[in-house]
Amino acid sequence: MAKTYLGTPRSFAEAAHDALKDTQMRANLARATGTIRAKRLSVVAEVSDWEELRQTGHDIKMSTLAHLDEHLVRFESEFVKAGGTVHWAKTAKEATDIVVKIAQVHGVSEVVKVKSLTTDEIGLNEALSSVGIVAQETDLAELIVQLADEHPSHILVPAIHKNRTQIRNLFVANLPEAPVGLSDEPRELAMVARAHLRKKFLSATMAVSGANFAVAETGTLVVVESEGNGRMCLTLPDVLVSVVGIEKIVPLWRDLEVFLQLLPRSSTGERMNPYTSFWTGDADDGPSERHVILLDNGRVQTLRDEVGREALACIRCSACMNVCPVYERTGGHAYGSVYPGPIGAIITPQLLGPGQADSLPFASTLCGACLDVCPVKIDIPNILVHLRARAVETKGITSELLLMRVMARILRDGNSLQHAQRLLSWNYALINALSRLGFLKHLPGPSKGWLASRDIPLLPRKSARLARKGDSR
């Protein structure tokens, strides 16, 4: 398994080929995303100014990104003023080194973790494990995925690809708290995880989290969650380290009013999530030592791209993957990244840089369902198209480029199109005969995949323009 999980050399089409065979997973996914979609629709419909909220969320994020340097420095000074320590990490390696060092200074052998995509992105668990420190996931679904030695397949519902029987078997095999005769009833399963995790919360001296938002004005970090495991991690251990992507900044405390409405309704389909934790630092209870690691890891290069930077507005709600017809068929693992689905297809290649994860921007029909639900109105289809052009440029001269040049020459005006149509017209009877006889079901080359499940249409005797020319003679 790769150390970090941000893009694999396998193309999306190859990974999807395997994923599509897993009919159980497709059924699980269709049911789960269908349920979340319906919940989202109903709670969004309750908000009369939803469209204004989306626009405001978009505007706040985009204007923050335009002055990100100033906001980051403001955040740093406020966080430090409140008694915390700020670290800056350019790469995943720098970030994991900082966490490892803090853990070693405190002689910690196990850390408890709040569900965090950013720590998955930098491969933190693997980095800790390589120096003998156990990273214990405490979000139920993250725990399940960790026990299965897998990666999350969805950013909000990491174990969406697993059903409860599979979860029961994992618990029986791995958790000493699992009683004899454990059933696959959700409540029984939850109680086993709870008994297991309570011990971890009480014994851990260090916690690692991410953050949903970092407020520059007050130096406050915010974690939004459902299970309360986050609250346990954020309050019980002595040392708290938060790994935060630099795009998570919002300038003002009052900006949270917008995002705390947008996020839960878009992600879990709830009006309000059960637990929202804010910490600013100086307090009598809670961790006595608080660190934040502000992470670049490709975000600055993403920011340089005038079109692509909009992807950094993402608040990780997962609404786009819940409506994505491609994600629904392949699941998250096919994307080979901690960020799957439409948002992953635009974030991952940008974080990694040109030439990496190049097949992801093509893993979309450009149907636009993602843009419709995005709470911060990221024009995902537009960025996908933009990144396709970047991927093409990186590849240089390919057979596809040559084909596209020929096609461009044919299609660019009426005359050249007519010449090509005449060529088809001369041969239409032959082509149709071959088609009817089934000879066109197994052609080599790029059409092979198309023809595997589809017949090509019968050609008309004449194109529209040739037919009209004939009429006028």
Binding site: L411, A420, S463
Partner: protein
């Protein structure tokens, strides 16, 4: 039929209308172009089909070759610039003109092209928009005594937001039996070159769409874009299904045999 304001001596509207045939429909589905002409003439318009028109460039833009689309955008503008309305039976190509041409033009660095695109693009309409918004008609007088279901194409719904216009036109057809398609607004899986590059995912989406169509018991699967229908029709044909596909315009024009 229409108020005879601004008519020529033959009673046709003075409003000049060009048909943006789209290279795809021109080449593979001339019957849809013919139906568009018949329908518009029936409604009192005298549409022209500029012979200089080629492709809008959508395939090149969406496959990552926007620079190759620059001459196509230039040709599009010069072919259609003089008309009051440019009407097309492809919401997808209309979407490309309205949302992507400005970007291509701006990447070309030619300011006059940007201005020309911005001036022209808003007048480029899907046929359902033209019928409902410009002509102001829902019942075009068509008759079609068959059971049909309708696939809402992604670009009609989300790129140019035609809303329920196509369905209003379809439901107004006399003697038609319309059955809704389950998850009508979810993508059929075509996606242009997606259907080649990710053919297996594309197929999986198609299978779900075809299954839904079969469950309706309809004889006809109707849509507003022949590209989706080529993909779905190709799958139906491979399966040996008796369901036939038709463009909405062919039903409205009464040209289906």
């Amino acid at each position: 039929m229409q108020a005879p304001t601004g008519c020529d001596l033959d009673g046709f509207h003075m409003t000049s209308v060009a048909i943006f045939a789209t290279c795809f429909n021109d080449t593979l589905y001339p019957k849809t172009i013919a139906a568009t002409v018949i329908l518009l003439r029936k409604l009192g318009y005298k549409p022209e089909i500029p012979q200089s028109q080629g492709c809008c460039g959508q395939m090149h833009i969406n496959t990552g070759y926007p620079k190759l689309a620059i001459p196509m955008v230039e040709n599009f503008v010069s072919s259609f610039v003089g008309y009051d309305y440019v009407v097309s039976p492809s919401a997808s190509c209309v979407g490309s003109v309205r949302h992507q041409h400005a970007q291509v033009a701006s990447a070309s660095g030619v300011n006059s092209l940007v201005d020309a695109v911005n001036e022209l693009a808003p007048r480029v309409l899907d046929i359902s928009e033209f019928l409902i918004d410009v002509v102001g008609v829902e019942d075009v007088g068509a008759v079609f005594a068959h059971k049909v279901t309708y696939h809402t194409t992604c670009h009609s719904l989300r790129a140019i937001q035609v809303g329920d216009r196509p369905l209003r036109l379809l439901k107004a057809v006399r003697n038609i039996e319309y059955v809704p398609l389950e998850n009508s607004d979810s993508c059929c899986g075509f996606g242009g070159t997606f259907s080649v590059k990710n053919s297996e995912v594309s197929s999986a989406m198609m299978v779900d769409k075809i299954d839904a169509a079969v469950r309706t018991g309809a004889q006809w699967l109707v849509s507003g874009d022949n590209s989706c229908l080529m993909h779905l029709g190709g799958g139906l044909s491979r399966r040996g299904s008796s369901i036939k596909t038709a463009h909405l315009v062919e039903i409205l024009a009464g040209t289906l045999v």
